[in-house]
């Protein structure tokens, strides 16, 4: 009974059921759903989405938000492409350059949020516009086409039936799960998200936690941005434009609590799978793509409502705080 109850309480069981049932229903309705091509499409999308969804997730975990996630990814993608095309840097140097830019963007967000004591919403709204403006300014809204062949190959090659990008996505997912579940800074981050004042009283540095989470988010956005370059085979300044909704939807569906303190990596992965399943289902059933938007919106509302309900069932007084 106890084990059963624990399973019910876990974020992932219901979600896994939804994924399985949805997949089963879809493959009955449309047998071509289970073709290798289709699964490949879902996996390729999954690899990208899961990275930026986790990038938002670590911010949600400390009760903040990052509107500049897509703009950071965009700036990194553009600088990555520019470093290869204009400066002629080798791929490894361009990758490091991109990662550094992403981390710097995240650091700026975290530092400003901490120093000003304002909500991260307004800070990241401002930096979103700054980062996006810079990426549009240096490219003049034209993509860089001079992406190295090895990067293009990474985006399009298959490793058996699996896309090569999974080689990046999987370690990140596992690494983050270990970081948040087993490592001291990760545990401290979640503790800080759950109750900042209590965490501070027990000696966790507020500045370090805020900056750590935002820098991590910038790093993940950078990886997602460069992965988009590999996938699109060009560095377009439109990368990151439509990350925002999905980046909130996946962690929230996965059980993340918006007031902070809780993030399930596995749940987020399942959330991404659900989102891509819906996308795929609507494509296969030839439904208007705008239904995806309506459904995603409804899904976010439903998921946060459900999380709230579960929270109060579990006896945790809902602490609402969005800074």
């Amino acid at each position: 009974m106890n084990a059963f109850r624990r399973m019910l309480r876990s974020d992932s069981l219901g979600l896994a059921l939804v994924v399985l049932l949805g997949g089963a229903a879809l493959s009955i309705a449309r047998p071509e759903f289970l073709t290798a091509y289709n699964i490949d499409v879902i996996l390729v999308g999954f690899c990208l989405t899961v990275i930026y969804a986790l990038g938002q997730g670590v911010i949600i975990a400390i009760g903040h938000m990052n509107l500049a996630l897509g703009a950071t990814g965009c700036l990194v993608a553009v600088s990555f492409g520019g470093a290869m095309q204009v400066w002629g840097l080798p791929v490894w140097a361009a990758v490091i350059f991109g990662l550094l830019i992403g981390m710097f963007c995240g650091f700026v967000n975290g530092w400003l949020t901490h120093k000003s004591g304002l909500t991260s919403f307004i800070i990241t709204l401002a930096t979103m516009s700054i980062f996006k403006g810079i990426s549009l300014g240096i490219t003049e809204a034209q993509p860089f086409y001079g992406v190295a062949e090895s990067v293009k190959a990474f985006g399009s090659d298959r490793w058996g039936p699996l896309p090569e990008t999974l080689l990046v996505a999987l370690p990140i997912v596992i690494g983050l799960a270990v970081f948040l579940g087993r490592m001291i800074p990760g545990r401290q981050m979640l503790a800080f998200g759950g109750n900042p004042s209590a965490a501070e009283l027990s000696g966790i540095s507020r500045a370090r936690m805020v900056i750590l989470a935002h820098t991590l988010s910038g790093l993940l956005a950078a990886i997602a941005g460069m992965m988009s370059v590999a996938r699109l085979q060009l560095a377009s300044p439109a990368i990151g434009d439509e990350w925002l909704i999905a980046s909130f939807a996946a962690p929230v569906i996965g059980g993340a609590v918006l007031s902070g303190g809780h993030l399930s990596v596995l749940g987020t992965c399942l959330g991404v799978l659900i989102v891509s399943l819906i996308n795929q289902a609507l494509v296969m059933l030839a439904v208007d793509p705008f239904y995806v938007q309506v459904l995603l919106g409804a899904l976010i509302l439903g998921a946060v409502g459900l999380n709230r309900l579960r929270e109060s069932r579990m006896g945790n007084a809902p602490v609402l705080r969005l800074s």
């Binding site: 938000m65 400003l112 000003s116 004591g117 304002l118 909500t119 919403f121 307004i122 800070i123 709204l125 401002a126 930096t127 979103m128 516009s129 700054i130 980062f131 996006k132 403006g133 810079i134 549009l136 300014g137 003049e140 809204a141 434009d241 439509e242 925002l244 909704i245 909130f248 929230v252 918006l258 007031s259 208007d288 705008f290 239904y291 995806v292 938007q293 309506v294 995603l296 919106g297 409804a298 976010i300 509302l301 946060v304 409502g305 709230r308 809902p318 609402l320 705080r321 969005l322 800074s323």
Partner: protein, 349 residues
């Protein structure tokens, strides 16, 4: 007692921040420093651009500035009405576009008279806003995630219903109205904005409803204890935001001469920056309970002058977005600094 707990939602974190903002509110009431600072900044930039940007003071440019101030001003004022609650409305653009499309539908498909269609549009906007408000107060979720979801729902539904087709056979009177030039430089859209601002100023300064909204936003818990219907007031704020957003949507369509679903970008997200810039520059508190209508208007004037001036200097229109982001960042940091100083001064007294 259970009812007392219902209003935690938008309340900011207790503690030093409240004290700081309360102090800054008191002091900015005394010095009005925001407004004076903005006026000086506006004057300086007008002079600068007048000297260095060719054609900045030309009639065509001034007219175009006045039209943009009209539209973006109403967008900013709409956001301000919901910032009062300490929340926000990401879906403002989506509501604006949806309502404008509703007006187009009433005009073209139903053949209703112009006045009736306009009223229908504003009511539609207010209803969509009220939906946001109702969800926020019943679920007690933060308005950020609620409006993130409804933005997607509203916009998607609108596209599905309209088939992404705009309405471009507007009556002559309307398309002509968008092009009227008064004294060569003033667009009637600017006058509409001033009218909305005047009504809001009256609401927050002289009516019980407006004062109650401010009180509920400043400290929902205390307001609840003093017997205010905080939930109902919050729903009113969101509905007001939707209604004014609808006016902005119609105004933007009048400028374009047609009602198109893409006029505010994907999901109406292009309105976000102007929506926050004007009230935040004007000194409206993000934590709720403090508004400055004249500040929002001046903030919007400031933003339009910077935008247009940089545009005329031909620094490349893409860099303008960066500049606006820096302006927003500078403004909020300046406001923080002033609040901190105000707190120090109030302690030292």
């Amino acid at each position: 007692m259970a009812a007392l707990n219902t209003v935690q939602t938008p309340s900011p974190r207790p503690g030093e921040r409240d004290a700081a903002s309360a102090a800054s509110r008191r002091l900015s009431g005394i010095f009005g420093s925001n407004l004076v600072g903005l006026l000086i900044a506006i004057a300086v930039f007008v002079l600068l651009f007048g000297f260095f940007a060719n054609g900045f003071l030309s009639k065509v440019n001034l007219y175009s500035i006045s039209r943009s101030i009209g539209i973006d001003g109403v967008i900013g004022l709409a956001m301000m009405t919901v910032l009062v609650t300490g929340g926000l409305n990401l879906g403002l653009g989506a509501i604006g576009v949806c309502s404008a499309m509703g007006v187009g539908w009433a005009l073209q498909s139903l053949g209703l008279p112009i006045a009736v269609s306009m009223i229908f549009g504003v009511l539609l906007g207010a209803a969509l806003g009220a939906v946001n408000g109702l969800i926020v107060v019943t679920t007690r979720l933060h308005s950020f995630v609620v409006t993130l979801a409804t933005m997607s729902i509203f916009f998607g539904t609108m596209i599905l219903l309209s088939g992404a087709n705009g309405f471009n056979a507007l009556p002559r009177v309307l398309t002509g109205f968008g092009r009227i030039r008064m004294y060569g430089v003033v667009s009637p859209l600017l006058l509409i904005m001033l009218l909305v601002a005047a009504l809001l100023f009256y609401l927050y300064r002289y009516t019980a409803l407006g004062r109650e909204m401010l009180a509920a936003g400043a400290n929902p818990f205390a307001a609840k204890l003093s017997g205010l219907p905080v939930e109902r007031l919050f729903v009113c704020c969101h509905a007001l935001c939707g209604g004014i957003g609808a006016i902005a949507g119609v105004m933007a369509s009048l400028r374009n001469g047609a009602i198109v679903p893409s006029m505010a970008g994907p999901l109406g997200a292009d309105w976000l920056l102007p929506a926050f810039l004007a009230p935040v520059l004007g000194g409206t508190l993000l934590t709720g309970g403090g508004v400055s209508v004249s500040g929002a208007v001046l903030g919007c004037v400031f933003v339009e002058i910077i935008t247009r001036g940089l545009y005329m200097l031909q620094i490349g229109e893409f860099w303008i977005q960066t500049a606006l982001g820096l302006v927003l960042l500078g403004a909020i940091l300046l406001e923080r600094g002033r609040a901190a100083m105000a707190l120090q001064r109030s302690i030292g007294r």
